[in-house]
Amino acid sequence: MSTPVLRTEDITRIYRTGAVEVQALRGVTMELSEGEMVVLLGASGSGKSTLLNILGALDLPTSGRVFFRDTELTRATDRELTRFRREHVGFVFQFYNLMPALTARENVGLVTEISEDPMRPEEALERVGLGHRLDHFPAELSGGEQQRVAIARAIAKRPELLLCDEPTGALDSATGISVLEALCEVNRDLGTATALITHNAGIQAIAHRVIHIADGQIAREEINATRLDPKDITW
């Protein structure tokens, strides 16, 4: 493990809805390095999604600082944050967030068209095992296939950072494992720093490092001496 790609310094996040204040994060300091696969594990409502949103510049912390390499994201303009997401981050969500009006190939093309040095959409889809489903619309694909299209879309731009929010949350175990395999392959072959959040404790075995989140704080961190292959984990 080498240079940190992303690091946070004591970030907090408070949501105000009317008179109610909810403190989602209470001082989180962490980093993510090149080639690293980190699993953020926590119960629902623990603040892990908020953390991921801030890591991906979808949201800004109430206090604290976030750095992408030497650039402080917490000082960046909206335009700069957009460019950061466009050039450096790939997202994978629980509900895929594919464009229903575009085919698998076109959904990937959506990202490659605006990237500097992307893979060909076909190459990204082959990498996740969907070389034979290029011209299908999302409605014509299974959940696992849709999630793999989302992964292909996330990696096609060769991002430095891959952020996955419950990527297997809506899938059965067999399909979920195939999705995790795709993520691990990308992490290994492309060296993409990957953060994956889940409440499924079995998944932690595939990570280099596991960060346990509870009540908006890092409860503890563990480093896996031996990583398991996704097909060997207990779901």
């Binding site: 949103n53 991906g56 979808l58 949201d59 909206d78 335009r79 957009t82 460019r83 950061f84 997401r85 466009r86 050039e87 981050v89 997202f91 969500f93 509900f95 967030n97 594919l98 464009m99 229903p100 009006a101 575009l102 085919t103 076109e106 959904n107 093309g109 959506l110 990202v111 068209e113 605006i114 011209d135 619309f137 999302p138 409605a139 879309r153």
Partner: protein
């Protein structure tokens, strides 16, 4: 006690206020035009009917040279004649102190008895009627008296039948024959330049040498009378006395103008509202479909807890009814306000003794019912599709839209389109009905704007044709009687005259088989430079050596094509009937008279050439001197000043057009605003998840907005040419509606008009889409991704 569901309906209306207003605005336009058009029409019609009734406006009119009163019993005996009113009618040139230009006037006689005429009784507005025993007393047409500041007791000097007379004004009157008054050779009312004098019968008879005779006759018909039969019988009786052809109200100038105005108002109330109502129905359907889609789970829940399908359907229909209510109330208010304003404007044109804005109730009731029907029918399908779902199905999220491969894919691959552009194209082809609504709305806007703006093109062409190409004279002298061509030498001797050309105008009846039209036949001299005939390309038409040239409109009415024979019956001496070939038709925007070469006409008449009008080209600096000379020349019965007519014509037209252009532009823009704004809001609501995903993928706000704004602008662009075609069709309808026997509006739409209408609609659509874009910019990405429909 307001039920919970009703409170929800009310809150929905408030929450959706922008969309509700956008639809309500379009709906209000339809309601407004209906109320405005029929309200103004009803007010005018009621005022006219009461006026006609009270002043006994005649139904048949006839003029002749000199008819002995002994013929009256024979006329009264024509079956169908209920009442008759003979009078003497002539013209005068009035000389007012300090006024250089001559003022012309109609002179009408009042019965010897001192009582009102049996028919066409003038209505006294100030002072008193002239005493029949005092031949120098005169009542004046009130608008003329007011324009010239002539009060009862004032004196004026007039040349009647070549004799100068000094007259004392006794009063101001209005007349049902002069609700709309245009002088000879004029195109518009000009109260300062044309008046009407009412003098006693004896005075009129003395001036015109009509003792024991009359030259004008008005008839009222019995209830079961057949007008054409009465007209034929009357024509037969009057023919030996120089009858120029009897006619009904449709050929009475004042009545014809007012009637055509009423028909225009009726047409407006008939053509425009359906456009607005249809657009609103589609909009209500679009908005409610979306609202119901969003509330699918709530509908399922309501059903699960025991609400009936009927109760839920009623709830959404109430929402639609709420929109109808808003549109109706706003439309009523605007229609009432503009109706009153328009009625006031009419009061300047149409001299009715009273013009009260009193719209009847039915346009209000009808427009409210139509608005309700429109929104309910728009809502119906959306409501029905969703309330019939079983509760369990309704509570689960709807199936995602299914896209299929099609023509678009070929296009995308061929043109290397961006994926965001593909999203736009797929959305359009996936919901073609919704795209069609936007296209239809945009097209309707463009049509309304073109139909409004093209009138400027038509008027420009008319002005150019009438005043620059066809009539190059700046003055036309109307002679008291026909003279031989030596009169032209006298005219050339008048001050300031550069060129003089004669013309001879003969009242005729043109006949083809069983169709006939009253017209006047103008004989033009050879090589005429001043008064010219123009074809539809604006080129001068050389009059053929023989045969007749007719305006297209008149030829159409008679069912004639070049080469056909026309029967021409001269209604003035020599009172002969000739068969003449129609050699050509021309486009003629002003007047519907027939033309013939002077040698050809005088050949038919077997007479030496004569003139009864003289067209002059005059040095503008010498106009005062010319006017003074004309006033002292009794042989000249009237003078038409084309320069003044032109400036007056353009001023009046532009004033009227600018008001209607503003109104129609607003209406046109409102449709676009309503359609595009609602389409954008719905698209945004449906795609907020997708659009937020694009932001996550690193698309900038502008790139994401393209998916939304681009779709709407593309649909707008598709709507433009549809609107051009529709606008041209509308313009054709307007031309039909606005053309009268005096003025034929040409159907011409300039490129600039298409361009202006398109630009206004494009800008409005863009503005509406950008308002929604601001909403898009403010969307919280994280929240949008969390919220699943």
């Amino acid at each position: 006690m307001v039920s919970a569901l009703d409170r929800k309906a009310l809150r929905d209306l408030l929450r959706l206020w922008a969309q509700v207003l956008a639809i309500g605005g379009v709906l209000a336009c339809g309601v407004m035009v209906l109320v405005l058009g029929s309200g103004t029409r009803a007010s005018l019609e009621a005022s006219r009917a009461a006026y006609y009734e009270r002043q006994r406006f005649a139904e048949i009119f006839a003029d002749a040279t000199r008819v002995p009163e002994t013929l009256l019993p024979e006329i009264a005996a024509i079956p169908g004649v209920a009442r008759l009113s003979p009078s003497i009618r002539t013209s005068a040139v009035i000389d007012l102190p300090g006024v250089s230009e001559p003022v012309s006037a109609d002179v009408r006689s009042l019965p010897v008895s001192g009582r009102d005429p049996v028919l066409n009784a003038p209505l006294l507005r100030a002072g008193r009627m002239p005493d029949p025993l005092h031949p120098d007393e005169v009542a004046l047409y009130a608008p003329f008296a007011e324009a010239r500041g002539l009060m009862p007791g004032d004196r004026l000097s007039a040349v009647i039948e070549g004799q100068r007379r000094s007259l004392t004004v006794t009063g101001h009157v209005l007349s049902p024959e002069y609700i709309y008054t245009i002088g000879p050779g004029s195109m518009m009312p000009d109260d300062a330049r044309f008046g009407v004098l009412w003098i006693g019968q004896d005075a009129a008879a003395a001036a015109t040498d009509m003792n024991g005779a009359f030259n004008s006759l008005a008839l009222q018909l019995a209830r079961d009378a057949v007008a054409p039969a009465v007209i034929s019988a009357l024509d037969r009786l009057l023919a030996p006395y120089g009858g120029t052809g009897a006619h009904d109200r449709s050929d009475q100038i004042s009545h014809a103008f007012l009637q055509s105005e009423l028909e225009q108002l009726g047409a407006m109330a008939l053509i425009l509202p359906p456009i607005f109502l249809t657009v609103s129905a589609f909009l209500v359907n679009m908005v409610l479909s979306r609202l119901i889609a969003l509330e699918r789970a709530q509908i399922g829940l309501l059903k699960a807890v025991g609400y009936t399908t009927g109760a839920i359907a009623t709830h959404y229909l109430k929402l639609a009814a709420g929109i109808a209510l808003i549109g109706t109330v706003v439309g009523w208010g605007a229609g009432w306000y503009l109706g009153a304003a328009m009625t006031r404007m009419y009061a300047d044109f149409f001299r009715l003794p009273w013009l009260i804005y009193a719209p009847s109730a039915w346009p209000f009731v009808l427009s409210a019912l139509l608005a309700l029907l429109t929104t309910l029918s728009g809502a119906g399908r959306a409501v029905w599709a969703s309330v019939r779902l079983p509760p369990a199905v309704a509570m689960s999220p709807p199936a995602p839209p299914v896209y299929r491969r099609g023509l678009i894919d070929g296009l995308g691959a061929w043109a290397h389109l961006q994926q965001t552009t593909m999203m736009i194209l797929r959305a359009i082809t996936r919901w073609p009905g919704r795209a069609a609504v936007t296209v239809f709305g945009v097209a309707a806007s463009v049509s309304v704007l073109i139909a409004s703006f093209f009138t400027y093109d038509a008027i420009d062409l008319m002005v150019d044709e009438i005043f620059t190409r066809a009539n190059r004279q700046n003055v036309t002298l109307i002679l008291a009687s026909a003279r031989n061509e030596s009169a032209l030498d006298d005219a050339r001797a008048l001050p300031g005259v550069i060129r003089a050309e004669g013309a001879f105008v003969l009242p005729v009846r043109l006949r083809n088989a069983n169709r006939e039209e009253l017209s006047s036949l103008t004989a033009h001299p050879e090589h005429s430079e001043l008064s010219r005939l123009i074809d539809d390309k604006g080129r001068q038409v050389q009059l053929p050596d023989h045969g007749l040239v007719l305006p297209e409109g008149l030829a159409g009415k008679l069912g004639l094509a070049p080469g056909d024979m026309v029967t021409v019956e001269a209604l003035a001496p020599p009172r002969e009937t000739w068969a003449v070939p129609l050699t050509a038709t021309i486009r003629q925007t002003l007047g519907q008279d027939a033309h013939i070469a002077a040698p050809a006409l005088f050949g038919l008449m077997r007479q030496t050439p004569q003139v009864n009008q003289i067209n002059l080209q005059v040095d503008a600096t010498q106009m005062d001197a010319l006017n003074a000379a004309v006033k002292s020349t009794p042989a000249i019965a009237g003078i038409a000043d084309w320069t003044r007519t032109r400036s007056q014509f353009t001023a009046t037209i532009e004033e009227n057009l600018s008001i209607s252009t503003v109104i129609y532009s607003a209406l046109g823009m409102l449709i676009t605003l309503g359609v595009v704004y609602n389409a954008a809001r719905i698209r945004l609501s449906e795609r907020v998840h997708e659009l937020a995903s694009l932001r996550v993928l690193g698309f900038s706000r502008g790139e994401v907005a393209w998916v939304l704004v681009g779709e709407l602008m593309l649909l707008t662009l598709i709507g433009l040419p549809v609107g051009w075609a529709g606008g041209y069709g509308f313009a054709a309808l307007v031309v039909q509606g606005f053309s009268t026997d005096v003025v034929a509006l040409p159907l011409v739409v300039n490129r600039q008009t298409f361009a202006y209408a398109s630009l206004i609609v494009l800008a409005t659509a863009l503005a509406a889409a950008l308002v929604v874009r601001r909403r898009l910019d403010r969307i919280d990405i994280v929240q949008a991704l969390k919220a699943r429909d």
